[in-house]
């Protein structure tokens, strides 16, 4: 076994960071929805998958770079998120009996449905974006090589996070916070909580849409691509603390790093065991995650 060079360490740390930022943004969408209304979206991975397909086909048809498609895909995903809330989730919230399980299995059934629809529409093939400015280009940072698509993706994720934090400081952000603190009381100040919830779903879907758009630049898309990312997103959200944006960011980066280190030290096929183990250890110490309110 050769000594691990400083370059290897930096390379591992950087690739962990880049992937971690993407995990963080996927998790942020999930966390936002959960924090707002206590619903875990088990179809979150499928939203990521749809965003990746949307980017793939828009790129195929119009030859536009994923970076240009970003706002388009985000808008499509926003609309989809709103539609899912209006069509399904608002009904699930109105259920009187067994509400927790109904919410889990409505989004879970939706996930299966979307996966089936994707198989029907797109087939089972693995696809990747053909034309992109960044494809197959690498930046050389003093001997550490970074594929440009990953670099761009993590930069976009950072910007998206900045946007989400900024949104939290706006008046609408306050209304979001008020709704999550007392969803019934917001009617007393004239706020329609259904509208806030719908926008929350839209934003959550748009966040995962942004992640998907950038992901498709270096990751194959198939109808089952969402499952893996979704599992990581649940772990990230629970690790950071449900509903906490900063928690999602920190936990996402942490998980990206742990994954990269595990893959390097043990073997790549075990890379997720490391992150899951860290997650379990943290939850034993802090049952509501790193940033969760106890």
């Amino acid at each position: 076994m050769s000594a691990i060079s400083i370059d290897t360490v930096l390379q591992v740390a950087l690739s962990g960071l880049l992937m971690g930022l993407i995990y963080a943004l996927v998790a942020a969408g999930l966390s936002l929805i959960f924090g707002l209304m206590d619903v875990v979206n088990f179809a979150h991975g499928e939203l990521l998958m749809l965003a990746m397909y949307a980017t793939f086909f828009l790129n195929l048809w119009f030859g536009l770079d994923p970076l240009i498609l970003l706002p388009v895909v985000a808008a499509i995903m926003f609309a989809l998120g709103v539609a899912i809330y209006r069509g399904l989730i608002s009904r699930a919230l109105g259920v009187q009996f067994n509400r927790g399980m109904v919410q889990i299995f409505v989004t879970f059934g939706l996930a299966i449905f979307i996966r089936g629809a994707a198989q029907l529409a797109f087939g089972g093939d693995f696809r990747s974006v053909g034309t992109s400015w960044l494809a197959n280009r690498t930046a050389d940072l003093h001997g550490i090589y970074v594929p440009l698509p990953q670099l761009a993706a993590s930069a976009v994720c950072l910007v998206a996070f900045a946007g989400l934090f900024a949104l939290g400081r706006t008046e609408f952000g306050r209304a979001l916070q008020a709704t999550r603190e007392d969803r019934d009381a917001v009617a007393l100040i004239g706020i329609d909580r259904d509208r806030i919830f719908a926008i929350g779903w839209g934003l959550g879907a748009a966040a995962v849409g942004v992640a998907g758009t950038m992901l498709v630049g270096f990751y194959y898309v198939s109808p089952n691509v969402g499952a893996n990312f979704a599992l990581i997103a649940y772990v990230t959200v629970a690790l950071g603390g449900f509903g906490n944006l900063m928690g999602a960011l920190v936990a996402g980066i942490l998980i990206g790093e742990v994954e990269a280190v595990t893959a390097q030290v043990l073997e790549p096929s075990l890379k997720q065991v490391g992150m899951f183990a860290i997650y379990l250890v943290v939850l034993m110490v802090r049952p509501r995650g790193l940033f969760g309110k106890l």
Binding site: E171, R174, A175, Q177, A178, E181, D182, D184, A185, V186, A187, L188, I189, G190, I191, D192, R193
Partner: protein, 266 residues
């Protein structure tokens, strides 16, 4: 006279049509006509018939007290008007029916409710709680009632950046009333404003209720403290097991032995 036909002062961001964006505009204190009317309203709450054929009317600019023992249906009455409880019968506010109007729309039409338990947003600051009250208002004057809220409750002005959950019970009640005033209501409904509050603050809060009326906001008050609320009110309704058993000028009700017996169990 809600004859200007404006809902919630929405055209100019004021209550009574004054354009300076402050509360009131009816400082003449009444004679503006009927603002709220309930006809034969029945409602169930948690499976119980909480209101049975309640009729009442509130004139613009007055304070109307609703008194009665625990479980008489007072809170349900306010919640019904606020659109939170399914009901039968008619509720007219400002000439328009409130039947099947969702709670947030009731607020937007100009009916403010300060509920039991206050329902503040505990982790938001005092300032955020207040400003959110004006969330659905538009226009440059939307935050104008702030000045009057601070005049009514100077303590709130000193605690602007504190989280709502760190306030004392009395201060929280002030904040809840202030937040409701920020929605620029023409009718303000208060559910037990003195509950769980240090005795020396109770007088302050009830005095503030009187001053809010003087600013031109009509008030429907549910209050356990019989003497104080009847002293403050112009008229009163007595509820017993979901029915109106008596109504009239507050002074008359206060003198009525039957009420005292039914209500206080004397």
């Amino acid at each position: 006279m809600p004859s200007d036909g404006k809902i919630g002062g929405k055209s100019d961001g004021t209550l009574g049509g004054r354009s300076d964006g402050t509360l009131g505009g009816r400082s003449d204190g009444g004679k503006a006509g009927e603002i709220l009317r309930l006809d034969n309203v029945s409602a169930s709450y948690r499976g119980l018939k909480a209101l049975q054929g309640v009729s009442l009317a509130v004139e613009a600019g007055e304070i109307v007290a609703v008194v009665g023992a625990n479980g008489a249906g007072k809170s349900t009455l306010l919640r019904t008007i606020a659109g939170q409880v399914a009901m039968e019968g008619t509720v007219m506010f400002d000439g328009q029916s409130l039947a099947r109007v969702p709670p947030h729309q009731v607020t937007r039409r100009g009916v403010g409710l300060v509920p039991e338990g206050r329902r503040l947003f505990p982790r938001l600051s005092v300032e955020d709680n207040l400003r959110l009250g004006a969330y659905t208002r538009r226009g440059p004057d939307r935050f104008a009632p702030l000045a009057q809220v601070f005049e009514l409750f100077p303590r709130l002005g000193e605690r602007l950046s504190q989280r709502a959950e760190t306030l004392s019970g009395g201060e929280q009640q002030m904040l809840a009333i202030g937040r409701a005033l920020m929605t620029q209501p023409r009718l303000l409904m208060l559910d037990e404003p003195s509950q769980g509050i240090a005795p020396k603050l109770v007088d302050d809060i009830l005095a503030a209720v009187g001053r809010i009326r003087d600013l031109g906001v009509t008030i429907l008050l549910v209050e356990q403290r019989l003497a104080e609320s009847l002293e403050l009110a112009n008229r009163a309704y007595v509820l017993q097991t979901g029915r109106v058993v008596m109504s009239g000028p507050a002074a008359d009700i206060a003198r009525d032995d039957g009420v005292r017996r039914a209500y206080l169990g004397l």
